[in-house]
Every structure is written in C-alpha cells, then in structure tokens.
C-alpha cells in the first residue's frame, strides 16, 4: 500500500497539469511550425515557377516564415516528446495507485463508482 499525502498529491497534480498544458502547447507549436514550413516552401516554389518578379512582399514574407519555422519544428518536436513522456509517467504513477484524473481534472478512484480523492478547485476554494 503506498501512502500518498494530500500535499504530495497536490504537487503531483500541479506538475501533471503543467505537463498537460505544456504538451498541448508543444503540439500546437509543432503543428504550426510544420504548417508554416509547408506553406512558405510551397509559396517560394510557386513564386519561382509562376511569377518570378513582383509579389515582393509575399516573397520576403515566405522567406521570413521559412527562417522562423525551420528551427521551430525540431524544438517543438523534442518538447512534445519530452512532455508526452512526462505526462504519461505522471499518469502512470496515479494509475499504479488505482487513481485516475477525470474530465474535470479531479483525482478519483479508477473504478466504475469513482470516489473523489483530490479536487484542486475545491481545495483552493476551501483553504
């Protein structure tokens, strides 16, 4: 039986919530980076092919986007992988103790009739 104090659970949930949000942002950044890269690259190819002169604003915009997106992709990808692993590990700790986090972000027992174990919103209200 692993004894988990409420404070440890609070710390655990803070890092888990942080990991979840971080992962969401990492996914967004990664998708945005890939999308911008494809967009900029195909715009440049299109400009070379179909209007070699003019559209200067578009041309420079694409170059800047390319310059920004190229480093963004690997960074976001690594962050996503790290946060994904961290989140899973944190969830694993709860799962090992028969707990899980429900849709509303509360820690409950992992069975058909879940019992509330920890609710950050209620606790912060209560304290």
């Amino acid at each position: 039986m692993v004894v988990v104090t409420l404070d440890e659970l609070a710390v655990h949930m803070r890092s888990l919530t942080g990991a979840e949000q971080g992962l969401r942002w990492a996914r967004r950044l990664f998708s945005t980076g890939c999308a911008l890269f494809y967009l900029a690259f195909s715009t440049l190819v299109f400009l070379m092919q179909y209007s070699p002169v003019g559209q200067i604003a578009l041309f420079i915009g694409s170059l800047l986007t390319l310059v920004i997106s190229v480093p963004l992709i690997p960074v976001a990808w690594l962050a996503r992988r790290r946060l994904w692993r961290q989140r899973n590990r944190l969830h694993g700790v709860l799962f090992a103790q028969g707990l899980r986090v429900d849709e509303a972000g509360r820690v409950v027992t992992n069975d058909p009739h879940p019992r509330l174990i920890y609710d950050r919103a209620r606790l912060s209200g209560a304290v």
Partner: protein
Amino acid sequence: MSNLFRPCAIFAVFLSVCLVCIALPVRRAAAVTDGPESASSLPDAVLDDVTVRPKGTVPLSAFSADPGPLRLRDEAGEQNFFIPLARTAVLRDVILTLRYTNSVSLLPDRSVLAVRLNEATLAQIRLDPAQPAGEARIRLPAEMWRGGFNKLTLAVIQHYADSCEDSVAPELWTEVDLSQSHLSYDLGPLARPVALSDLGALFSPGLGGQRQVTVLTPAGPGADGLRQRALPYVAQALALRRQYAPLEVLHRDWTAAGLPADVPGAVQVLVGLPQDLAAVLPPQALPVVDGPQATLTDTGGGHSRLIVTGRTEEEVIAAARGLTLMNDALTPDSQVTFPRRDGGGGSLPLDGRISMEGGKSYRFQALGFRTATVRGKGAYQISVPLPMAPDYYTYENAKVVLKLDFSYGAGLGAGSILNFRINDRQIHGHAMDNKNGASFQDYLITFPVNLLKPGANALLIDINSQPPVSGGECVGSRGRHLMVQVSDSSVITLPEAGKAAMLPDLARFAASGYPYVGGDGRGAGTVYLGSADLIGPALTLTGRMAQAARGPVDGLQVVVGLPAPLSGQALVLATTAQLQREDFGPWAVSLSKVKAWPYRALQDLRTATTGPELSLGGLGGLLGGTAAKPALPDEEWMQQKSSLGDKAALTAFRNPAGQGDDLLTVVAAETPAVLAARVNDLIGPGLWGQLQGDLAVWGKGGQDLLTLQVSEHYQVGRDNPLLLLRLILSANPWYWMAGAAGVSGLFTLLLWQMIRRRRQNFMGKS
C-alpha cells in the same frame, strides 16, 4: 622487366606501318580533283546564308535539317537535298565538292556512290576500301537546274561479299561530311526583260534570290505619309516573297540632285508621286500613272527597279498594299494598276494565315497536308503542320484527339514501326507487326493540349520499314515492296478554348508577331523610331513580323519620332541616347532574374561606372549578399550605367503610360548603324527562333545571346472572362485564399449564431 620490352617493340612497329598506310590514300585523294582549282581554304559555312552573291559557295549542311555528318547505311541507302533556285537566276556553272569516307569492308568493284540531280545520275564514285577517305568534285550542268526546288540525291550501293550477304550488315556504310562538302556556282544576269511575275523569283529564298533591298522615297516632309504608311506594306510584300529567308531592307531618300549612286542590292524600290519621280528619272523611265500602280523595269547589268506610285499619296499607299496581295503568276507584264475597290478600307483577307480554332475539327487536307506514301526499306519521316493561334488558351488537362487514317502494305518484317511525335514529344508508338499489312480508320490517339505551343507546330510520324529477316545470308529481299501510307482524311480535334495570353512573351512574338499582329490580321500598334535613319531596320523588322504571322499585317505604321506621352501598344526602335526622356524613367526593366531589381530604363546604361558587362542578379546573390556589392540605394536596389557596346537589347513590358494591357517593345542600341546591323542579325533563323522571356541582348552575328524573364507577367484575354479569371487565379492563388477565408469566416459566424440560438432554445425547454 624484360618481358615488357617485346610487346612494346611489336606495338611500335605496328604503329609505324599504320601511319604509312593512311598517309598514302590521303595524298592520292587530293590528286583526283580535275575541275577548276577550288579555293585552298573553304570559307567557314555561314549558317543562314542560303542565298549568296552571284559567285559563291554554299555548304550542303545549309540544306539539311539534321546537323552533323550524313551516314548512308545498308546495301542501298540514299539522302535527298532540296536546293531552291530563283527562276530569275541564270546558272553558268555549278560544281559540287563531296568529302566522304567509306567502310573498309566494301567490295571495290561493287560499291558505288551515285550523285543525281532531279533524278538524273550525273556521277558515280567508286568506293575503294584501300582509300576509304576521299574528295570528289562533280560538275552539275547548268541546263539540268530548274527554277524552284531542285532535288540533289546522294545514293550508295554497297556490298561486302560477292553473294549471300546480309543487306543490313553493320559494315555497309558511307559517311559524307556535309559541312565540308559544298556547292560552288556562278550566276549570270537574266537575259530576258524582267516582269512583275519575276518579283517572286527575284526575292525567292533560293539561290539567286535577293537578300538585301533598298527602298527610296523623296526627301522632305511631303513624303512623310509615304514613309509612314506605304513603306511598311512594301517591306512586307517583299519579305513575304522571301517566305522563311531573311530580307534586309535599307532606306534612302532621294533629293532633287538625283538618286543616290551606291545603293546595295540588285533591286531598287522607288516609292513616290509622279512629280517626285520625274525629278530623278529620265522621261522614258517614267510610267504612265492612272491609279495605284507598280512597275518593274530593268536598269541593265542585272539590276532592276520597282516603282510604286499613284496619283495621290493614298493611291501610292493603296499600290503598296496591293503589292502584298498580288499573285505574281497572274501578272506577266512589267506594270500593274490596282483599281480602288469601293470603300477599300476592309481588312486584308486572311489568306495563308489559318490557325486552328479551339473546339473545331480539321482534316489534314485543310492544313495543307497531302496523302503521303513511303515506299521501300529504311527510315522516313512524314510531317503534318499544326498551326496554332498565338493566343490559344484552354484548361491544361484538355485533350487533343487525333483520328488517323493510315495503312501499311504486306511483307513488313520485324523492326517496322511507326512513332508519332508532337514537336519533339513522343506521344504514341505502333508496331507494324501484321505480315499481311493493315489499314486503320479513325485510329485514336489523344495527347495533352499543352504539348502544342503558339504559332507553328508539327505532328511528326517517324516510319521505319524493314523487310522480314530471313534465315541465312543468301535469302534477303530488297524491301522495295514495302509501303506505308498516311491519308490526308485523318482528323485532328482541338478542345474548347478562348483567347488569352500571358504577356510579355518574346517567344510568342517570334512565333506569330503577337500582340502586334491581331488574330484577325489587323495590325495592333504602331512602330515609333528615334530618328529617320532607323526606317531601314524598322522595315526589316516589320517584314520579319509579316513572315512570322504568315501574312501581311494591315495598318501597321512606322512613325519617325517618339511621341510624348508614348501611350498605346508600340514597337520602339531607338538609340540609347534617344531614350533619355524623363517620362521613360519608370520603365521597370530589371536585369536580374528572380527578385526584381527595379532598374531604371536602358538609357541609364549610358553613364557606366563599372565595366559594360551586364551583371546577373539571382536568388543566390540576393541571399548571399556578398559584401563586395555596392550599397543598394533605397528601393532601387541596383543602378548601373554602362553602354551597350556593340550589343542591342530587345525588351518588352507593359506600357506604363498605356492604359490596360498595351505592350511596349523596345529595340535599342548605341548608334543607328549598330542597331541596323543587330536587327539584321536578329531576323536570321538562328537568333529569331531562340527568342524567349521578355529581354534579349545579343551581339555581333547573333553571338552570346542572353534571354531573361525580368518584368512582371500580366494577363491579356479578349472574349472569355471565365478563362481570364482562371488565368489570373492560377497565377495568383492568394486572391482565392483571401476570398475563401472571408467566406468561411462569415459562414462560420452565421452557423454559430444559428446553433447558439437553437441551444438556447433547448435550454428553455429542457
């Protein structure tokens, strides 16, 4: 070490023996010549110089489509050359010099190279394996030549064994070096008086045709109307008779003192009113003028004079216009009058300028193709002309449908094939593998329409007929029985299309004169000249445009002087000094490829700070940003002032002063003389065919041609807004994206509002 010595010694001996063997025949071949002593060094072949001065030499390669040496293979191979000869040319003496090499495995007494002129055999050269390389000089009697195209045939009969040999053995070959073999000839003056029916022959593309002509008009402002409106017609009339060969037009004014003496070219053209002609011509040379009239008379010594006149200036112009339509064969006299039709303002008939319209079907017969039958063994090519309109535009996945009627006879062996090509793109292959022969009706071939480019295209059918290869070498058929026929009842169907084009495009200009030649044959635009001494080059260029459009361009005027503002569609010929005007400043002619170098007009080349060489910008240069480059002034990026040297520049861009989509084409050079010379180089087949992009710069003799795409494309379309919209969106999808973003935003808002209202509706009820 010793075991290396012996092989080296043997090799040395073998080498020396070979050298002795080769040296002997070369010296012997030089002795065979028995005609007039040929010039020691042959003039380097001038590529486009088919029609030469009365006495001269032309290489055989000028009459052959394929570059490089001619190789005659198999047991009986032959090659035809079609040599055009002007009807007015009087041949005194023609000598053909052939330099050939034959296979060393031929039987000397059974291998012969025969030379035929218009199917008559004139000489047979024995192909001796002992002297594989040789040079022969054959006299082609002048009486066997006839006006128009003469067929010179080189045919070989080759054997390597007395009996039972393979007719397609690889060792049966003879090679003729076309660039070193040449035709030298001597032309005499025309004995009979010349008539207008000879005008076509005088300016024929063949031997003896005139390559240069001088047009003379009375000096003074009175003849400005003639210079402006009559001379273009005259230049076009003569250029059209030259068909595909270039014609240099020179222009001089005559004064009361008389005609200028040193006028190049055997034909002088005088355009003027009777009173002006009377000042310079003797009374007996003056024709009786009763309307728009053209007269061709001899002036002795092989020279002749064409007079275009009329009672009034309008009649002179009408006479010049009539010349462009005159059918030489129907005017046997030396003088012709063109009675004015009522109205007289109608556009010229579109004769000869048929280009296929979108959505229609054409029989090959209508495109000028006659049923072609190819007999005998070997490789042949049948070409079907496919003229396309200059501004033909359709959806890129549209398909052209060919329904061919062709047939081949029985007895075709393995390796007999048909390959169909559009210009140089292979579209279909067919193996003639039925030994009883076959005949096809409506044989279906479809190919994407974007293989056809504006102007002239061709469906090329490569035919290879081989007799059946039978067992052993003894039994072999000559293959004379083989036959392939392509009928002119075949049909080509073009997909629906509209009229739209992306300008500027020099390739489209070279292929059809577009946009200065409208689809209906009417001239669209005016030629402006920096100074009067540029009339010659302008007329040369106008003549070449008429040849490209395959018909006269009605209403094209050549105006001396650059109007201010220079608006509308215009073709400008001027020196860089004459382009110094302030309102020419915004011509965004940038000379770097990718990122526009907003670059002042050409005249800024004049005050060069660095060398004259035109530097090339590029993506690399821009990204690299090498330190050595001078600081780029604000948005002008790079300004360079240097002279054009001996080069000329031809550039086309949207006329900033014009409204809408008028095109401005500028031909500029340092001095009028340089400009005239460079225009002369430009109209040659070599340079004219390579024009592309919207800027071309070339030097003497058309060397180091540089073509770039520098200014911004714009879309021109006439009658199909949907097609034009498609053209615009395809080049600028950003407009579509903006529209899609706007519509989706609005749509989402409306949907969300509807759903929110429905959700509140639920809340009230649940």
